[in-house]
Symmetry: C2
Subunit: 528 residues, 2 copies
């Protein structure tokens, strides 16, 4: 007979630490360094502070299996009343808001603390001083696994004697520096390359010191919290927004979302057959499902899927089945204007026809503005090209930073770059450098959506023959990067993101092709 | 200023559904089918019932984006008092015990219910009748995300009119059958191939019916729950075991672990300098850390790591640094007996020397029996070879089922097979068929530890030249498979598991090489 039981989030991630990236001592050492560094960069850059980050890994003298990792930053610090939960309560975070940060899960530092506790029985020590505080605070803690609560063993505070704000975090855990070394150095270097405004110092267990000195005094525009975008919003989020208020639904929707004015909301409610003055919490489940579909609008991906999966025998019936907000006559006219026979078989629609229908239909939906980019903080073509030139000294480099798009209510920007020739080493497949929310991703390359896109590329189409000296850099930044796992090593193939990566990479490769063609003509001209 | 917040496990996995495998409609449809089928196989096979599983996916008539998945089994059913939490409380499970099952996280069905709720606003419907019950129970439910609690909308029960036990689960969600089709069929087929004792019926949205008929009437031995094995046990688990009792620590340890008798526990306590009669809950943190290290013993992997990361200048000092439980004289004698100079540089130790030292040191640790295989349920060489012959009709097939090993207190068995020639298609890299706890893994192949091992193989050493008609099947079964993510698509490179896979694959490839060499000789002989 089966024994049923519940686990706390702390017990769950302690037991299944591999899903958070702590699968072996080398990987755990790497992951713990990442979690601390990513928290420090969030605490500085996101708040308009030029980052000064110090990272030290020391091997324990009495037991060489154990390493002590200490990371110090000059960030905004943490208010003392939040420190215990921030470091010792799993699924507790200040980054659950819609704003691009490296952190997102409320798990990172806790997963490292759990691993340290389990392998070395050790405590996490935190020294922090918030920006506007006159005091410095000290905590020595562990996680109570069963309750998912902090256990505080020591605490103290004292007045600041000098102008300092920031945080120092220290943990001791079982690691494997020889096997982690190459990845840790690569991670820090690839981080420094795209954060030229940061000072990063790293001292290794072999007592090597590496100093990435700030080469740029100007911070990028920090991202700002925004409201969700209605496109792709899910039923549960919409419910949560609506059920909290007895105000008329038209008011609640207008102030809860970005990108929609009163007229667009009115239109959406009309299509969903909902009375605008109806109190928000009185909406029925069916009305909410209908409203979510209308707000979501139609995406080109949904049209493509409909072409393949519809049971309708004609294009006009396929559109009706998709519940496009228009009369049959209006849709028939739209199709006729596009020279598409409404009674033709949906399977016969070309991709161009789908795009044309998409643009036509989009006009029928409520006017929803594109997502605001202010929650995002892309790298920018300048930083990407400068970084690639610095490391590789290529003959050609081209970065593309796309416009903001939306998936599931989250705005995102895709940036890519290609570097070719010069100091770039030749290889049988392109060297892929992946980033997500400015974090370098070093593992699980072939499981990543960027690789899925690259695998499909027909290199001949771009005048490239493998082996070739080709580097492709990809950066996906979003208010929610759809990582495949909480260890943040690869990005999932969400259709909208995959599509943007594909368009961006092809755009960059076309620029490379033009360069290669031009260079070939110049060489031919020289020989004559 | 940062806004701190806590998420419930339901809110967390709803928000970050990609980490559970629900990254796009096609993938979500696949994952939901998996979660239901894996629960049904656990409810039958694990309990000595020959499985009859029926799977139906129907496309919704009014909205072709939505699909209703229904899975029925003849398993042990679920007692009504547990149904609401089993289906609607994230991190609630009957499989948190040490016994091989497909399920392990207490998340699977809930992740599918969350996705269904978010995309279609739908309910999960469950009909179940436990084996020994006279009634059938019905529930229609949703998950309260904020509280991580079930919301029951309808419930009922009635007397059974015929002899039936089992469970029927139905959910409606946004899917994409055309893009999921190939993977869903492959998943069901690869499941059927290794469960020849199961009847599996599948009806697709295109109304194709596939019937995998039972070809074997005998079930494999069901796995039985065991106690943890002390090798690799972590500090937190040891604490949990010890802090619950005021009995003498020698008693608590002997009855809480498998593989250790009173003498072995006495010896371990002596090495850790702990009084055997000391009340278990009085052990200090330092004593528990020391005890965990002694119970863990020394693994060959730890010795290899020590060789690379030790600060000791001599082999004898490296062993002392590892806290091997013996005097300096005893260790010096051990090394001299192995013809290893105790004062030599650790870096100069060959792999064979490491192995010899390992075997010598293992004798110094308490006698701990190898893990019991009764918690495991391997496929067995017979089923694997029969399955490969059936699908591929190869010229050569060889399966290897290794002995049980341990990592982090969990027993595991690695099974591999190679199939070559005959009907096997030729390709530039081997075709890899991965399984874990009898679940076929279809995604993230290159991120899997099996691929990491295969990538390092020098094919020439086995008389194989690529492209070749070669299939490699791997199966890792354990009381805890170290998956990389809760979507269960790839296995993490835990050192002990990676090592076993490497040894097993090489063993199978040597058998293939012998076959190829023999065949080549026969061909040469024929020509003479
Ligand atoms: N160095 C730091 N400076 C300021 N705040 C910090 C620092 N480190 C952690 N925090 C705070 O602690 C919280 C929890 O950190 P944690 O790493 O567990 O989660 P996260 O960063 O929010 O998300 P993720 O799990 O993706 O890393 C953060 O949200 C942040 O508010
Ligand atoms: N068809 C079924 N028959 C009997 N019990 C079931 C069935 N489906 C689910 N259960 C019960 O519900 C529990 C929760 O299922 P769920 O899939 O969420 O988690 P799990 O199978 O334990 O782990 P995992 O998340 O790895 O799938 C199971 O542990 C099992 O006890
Ligand atoms: Mg973090
Ligand atoms: Mg399950």
């Amino acid at each position: 007979i089966e024994k049923f039981k519940e686990l706390s989030p702390a017990q769950f991630f302690a037991r299944y630490r591999e899903v958070a990236g702590f699968s072996n001592p080398a990987r755990a050492l790497y992951q713990a360094v990442r979690e601390l560094v990513e928290n420090s960069l969030d605490a500085t850059e996101t708040h308009g502070i030029l980052p000064d980050i110090k990272i030290a890994i020391r091997q324990s003298i009495d037991n060489p299996r154990f390493y002590t990792i200490t990371v110090e930053d000059n960030g905004i610090g943490i208010q003392p009343q939040y420190v215990p939960n921030a470091f010792c309560k799993v699924l507790f975070s200040s980054k659950y808001v819609l704003r691009q940060t490296r952190g997102m899960y409320g798990l990172g530092i806790k997963a490292a603390v759990l691993y340290a506790q389990m392998t070395a029985g050790s405590y996490v020590e935190v020294i922090t001083s918030p920006v506007n505080s006159t005091r410095i605070y000290y905590f020595k803690m562990k996680i109570d696994l069963g309750r998912n609560e902090p256990l505080i063993f020591e605490r103290g505070s004292w007045r600041k004697s000098r102008e300092w704000h920031g945080t120092i975090v220290s943990l001791t855990l079982e690691g494997d520096w020889p096997r982690a070394k190459q990845k840790v150095f690569e991670y820090i270097k690839r981080t420094a390359v795209i954060t030229p405004y940061a000072n990063i110092v790293f001292v290794s267990p072999d007592e090597e010191l590496v100093f990435f000195k700030r080469s740029v005094e100007k911070l990028p525009q920090p991202p700002l919290e925004v409201k969700p975008h209605p496109c792709g919003v899910d039923v549960e989020l919409l419910k949560e927004i609506l059920r909290n208020s007895s105000e008329p639904v038209i008011n609640v929707l207008t102030k809860s979302f970005q990108g929609v004015g009163v007229r667009a909301v009115e239109e959406a409610l009309k299509i969903a057959s909902i009375e605008p003055s109806k109190p928000s919490l009185k909406l029925t489940d069916q009305e909410i499902v209908k409203l979510a579909a209308v707000l979501k609008g139609i995406s080109i991906d949904a049209l493509i899927r409909a072409r393949e999966s519809t049971r309708a025998a004609t294009v006009i019936d396929m559109l009706i089945e998709l519940e496009v907000p228009a009369t049959k006559d209006a849709l028939t006219k739209l199709l006729n204007d596009l020279n598409i026979d409404p009674l033709s078989n949906p399977r016969s629609l070309s991709d161009e026809a789908i795009e044309a229908i998409y643009r036509g239909i989009a006009k029928l939906y409520p006017k929803i503005r594109p997502p605001s980019p202010k929650a995002l903080s892309p790298l920018g073509e300048g930083i990407i090209e400068a970084g690639l030139k610095k490391i590789f000294n290529p003959e050609f480099v081209k970065a593309i930073s796309r416009r903001p798009r939306v998936y599931q209510g989250h705005s995102f920007i895709v940036e890519v770059a290609v570097a070719y020739g010069g100091g770039v080493p030749s290889s049988s497949e392109p060297t892929l450098l992946r980033y997500a929310n400015k974090i370098p991703l070093l593992y699980d390359e072939k499981a990543d959506v960027s690789w899925k896109v690259i695998e499909r590329i027909n290199w001949e189409q771009y005048n490239i023959t493998m082996p070739a000296p080709l580097i492709i850099l990809t950066h996906v930044c979003s208010t929610k990067v759809p990582f495949k796992g909480v260890g943040k090593e690869s990005v999932a193939d969400v259709p909208e993101v995959e599509r943007e990566l594909s368009l961006a990479i092809k755009e960059a490769l076309r620029a490379l092709r033009d360069h290669l063609v031009r260079r070939m003509k110049e060489e031919l001209a020289k020989r004559k």
